[in-house]
């Protein structure tokens, strides 16, 4: 509410800035009405001063003065017309100008602000922001302390394990991968550590379970065959590779062995639903915020269309291939590999990148 009053006051002040001069009578000074005469008079005075100071010789001063005098003569008689401050037309003009100011300023300001501003943020200021910011500042100091410590003792696996999830939260995924890798190296493998490591590898590849990540998850399951995270990602890997039955089975097993209300249950159910396995709808689930499958499909087809019509870099082709693989559309992924090979035929580095992607996604073998 307070903010609306402030905006109102600002508008009022802006309008007043226009109305105020309109409400005053002022007669312009002689100088403003007849600047030329004034200018040449000053110039003649200046020449006189210069002559006295010895900057100009007497003859020069005379010549300059004669010239300024000629111009002064020409300038007199060119005085501006008497100004029109009084009378009915002047009053009408003032009223029209006031109306213009009273209407134009608030309308434009409100229309533009309404269209582009975020007034809803005024009445409900995002309060959690302030706290989050405080937290992030502390976080940054903490991270830099840990980093300094790790620079001294790079073999402190515990330090790497502490800092890794923090990197993840800060969006520094590459650093998180390195940190988990170091943690695994110095603290030795454990199911949790390995599955976290695998997860950041997946995140670093935009959701794709690479063959290296798959190996990490397999190792985690060997150590502890109940590890839900590792089993989940192995199922995702199976889905990506097109082994849909295996994926369904793995998801179902995971769901069956999960305790009631496990946090990952929802995600697994969605995965199963995506594979065409009916699931009982849990109340409230439909309200959960998520990006719909339609949105993803639209984004992917947009990318495909753009690459087809305008071309693109090998990286973009690889991303499209990956997207199809992640969506489980292996035929399309394979077709895209072929298409990319044609388009990038001249580009050796590009071809290598596409082949590498295809190998990674196991798209090169005939049939799923």
């Amino acid at each position: 509410m307070v903010i609306w009053i402030i905006l109102l006051l600002m508008t009022a002040a802006a309008v007043m800035a226009v109305l105020w001069p309109l409400s005053r009578h002022r007669t312009p000074t002689a100088e403003q009405l007849d600047p030329d005469t004034q200018f040449y008079r000053e110039q003649i005075a200046e020449i006189e001063r210069d002559r006295e100071r010895g900057v100009l010789l007497a003859s020069e001063a005379e010549a300059a003065k004669a010239e300024a005098g000629r111009r002064l003569l020409r300038a007199t008689g060119m005085m501006a017309d008497a100004s029109a401050t009084l009378g009915e037309p002047a009053l009408r003009r003032r009223r029209a100008a006031s109306t213009l100011a009273l209407s134009v300023i608030p309308i434009i300001a409100l229309a533009l602000y309404g269209a582009y501003g975020s007034p809803q943020l005024l009445t409900h200021p995002p309060r959690e922001r302030a706290e989050g910011q405080q937290g992030s500042l502390d976080l940054v100091t903490a991270v830099s302390q840990i980093e300094a410590h790790l620079a001294q003792n790079p073999q402190d696996g515990r330090g790497w394990e502490v800092v890794a999830p923090v990197y993840l939260r800060m969006g520094r995924i590459e650093d998180a991968v390195k940190a988990y890798e170091a943690a695994v190296r110095y603290l030795g493998p454990s199911a949790d550590r390995l599955s976290n490591y695998g997860e950041v590898m997946v995140l670093a590849k935009d959701g794709l379970v690479s063959s290296e990540a798959q190996k990490v998850f397999e190792q985690a399951v060997e150590l502890d065959n109940t590890s839900p995270k590792a089993r989940y990602y192995l199922a995702v890997a199976a889905e990506q590779d097109g082994r849909l039955d295996k994926a369904k089975q793995a998801y179902a097993d995971l769901l069956a062995s999960s305790p009631e209300g496990a946090p990952w249950a929802e995600v697994v159910k969605q995965r199963l639903a995506g594979l065409g396995v009916a699931q009982p709808v849990v109340a409230g689930q439909e309200n959960a915020p998520q990006i719909g499958a339609d949105d993803i499909a639209r984004m992917v087809s947009g990318l495909a269309e753009r690459l087809e019509t305008q071309g693109g870099s090998p990286d973009e082709w690889a991303r499209l291939i990956r997207s199809y693989a992640v969506l489980g559309q292996h035929d399309k992924a394979r077709a895209t590999v072929e298409r990319a090979r044609q388009v990038l035929a001249q580009d050796d580095a590009g071809l290598k990148a596409i082949d590498a992607t295809a190998r990674e996604l196991k798209l090169t073998d005939a049939g799923p």
Binding site: R93, Y113, S136
Partner: protein
Amino acid sequence: MFVEAGHFALALALGLSLIQFVVPLWGARANDPVLMSVGRATGLAVFACIAFAFMALTIAYVTSDFSVVNVVENSHSAKPLIYKISGVWGNHEGSMLLWVLILALCGAVVALARNSIPLRLQANTLAIQGAITIAFLLFILLTSNPFTRIVPAPAEGQDLNPLLQDPGLAIHPPLLYIGYVGFSISFAFAIAALIDGRIDAVWARIVRPWTLGAWAFLTLGIAMGSYWAYYELGWGGWWFWDPVENASLMPWLAGTALLHSTVVMEKRDALKVWTILLAILTFSLSLLGTFLVRSGVLTSVHSFAVDPERGTFILVILILFIGGSLALFAWRAPLLKQGGLFAPVSRESALVVNNLFLATACATVLIGTLYPLALEVVTGEKISVGPPFFNFTFLPLIIPLLLLLPLGQTLAWKRGNFLGTAQRLYMVFGISLVVTMAIFAFEHGGPVAAPLGIGLGVYLVLGSFNEIVARSWSRGTPLAVAWHKAANLPRSTWGAVLAHAGVGLTVIGIAATAWGVEGLATVRVGDRIKAGDYEARLERVVPRMEANYRDDVAVFTIFRQGRELGSLESMKRLYVTRGMPTTEAGIMTVGLGQVYVSLGEVAADGSVGVRLYHKPLVLLIWIGSLVMALGGGVSLMDRRLRIGAPVRAKMVPAAAVPAE
């Protein structure tokens, strides 16, 4: 809350500038001083609103308010305070806001001049200024809004482009923008004069400080940008004929011409129409520069074609203002009264020649900058027009201009005497020739261009100061009297002398680059690398952590002919948030020259690729620019009227002492 109020203030400023455009123009037509005075009030109110908006954005940056998209994209909570503030204009949206802020500031200063500007001229000028403000506020609000919010706010920002995290960036854009935008006032005055159909010495007197100030700031801005590129990009070059640099050079060249023709107009009431045209062209080139830099057309014509919204908008502004003002010029200029006459050999003519050379040089740069773009649009072929083109076209135009400069400065107003002038310069010319020969003999084996260029620079510096000597001393004058006379000369004279001497210093600095030497090697700790007389020994490579980046610091000891000069640090820096590496060159100043060490890759085995340069006299390039801007400042201090005493027709003996 501040962010939203700032956003609203920007929208209010748009409404106010609409009033600022319409009402004073109407008042000037109806000859109603009350309506005309609205221009002043709105000019101040627009400035207040935009200043508030700018402050709101700055607060958002300083407090790292990541609910603002612009802050998220260009800031980081761990960034030092100064870069949080400079980050405000280190991005497209914020820099456009700075642009209109300076525009509004200039308008407010015009509005505050109560009695020194005739009412009608002031009203028309403020109206034109209002029109420019409208165009750019619309551009900001519709296509480049810095106040767009994001909910929920991310926890951390993406950091400012590391190349821009530098003190140079903190001051370079504001200086440059004051220059660009200052010319908008000259432009507004020119259009106002065309609308009113009146232009005279009074007009020139009012416009001169604006042109002079804008020119001095633009000079500083360009010099600052050049020095920044020199030490931050790590290539050791100081001018790349890059389109972005050309975009600022073109208004500078046109502005220099404008500066000189305004002097003729104020002192001699001549060259009126040409001055108006130059004022229009100078600001048009500023707008063109803004378009080139801000539309993204330079990175690729195609990126512009893919996301054309901003570029098209600026293009429309460009066409509207340049086309409109030139059309107005074509219509109204023939109605302007022609002023004073002058002989073919006179100071006036010399300044016309100066203007022609500068305008042609400006046209070459324009062609060199726009031709590749036009070619890419038409044929899709991407070419780059680099130093060879500019060396072949720009230098032949600038060198004769520089050779004529001291001559023109010595000529008398209205009727000059070429022989008499040449006689007064023979000492200067002689000394410069001796210097050139001496350097040539001493530095045998070096490139020929260097002694010639240095000779030209010496000639310019001496020629400039010759003006002071000629006006205060003649044979037989006691030194004390001469000194007193010299000190008594108008500050505007001293300003001109300083500015011209600054050009000479810059020329010397540029010519000396021909002597620069370079060494390139991969070295390990303890190894040496050599360039000319200079050697650098790599002492150690150590890592160093800072809040938002980490450095690999290489410490070198520098030797000259085996004698130790000291040590310097050169760095390879990685900004963690963007994962972007930069080089921080290590620079040691020896006299007026510099030793410059730039790091390449640091290999795993500890060996480092190193470039070592020695650049003699390189600092003169920027010192010269500073002296030029200082000259502009000194002249700006001189509030007195400018007088050009004419030489009368009857008295032209060869030995006469021409005035001023």
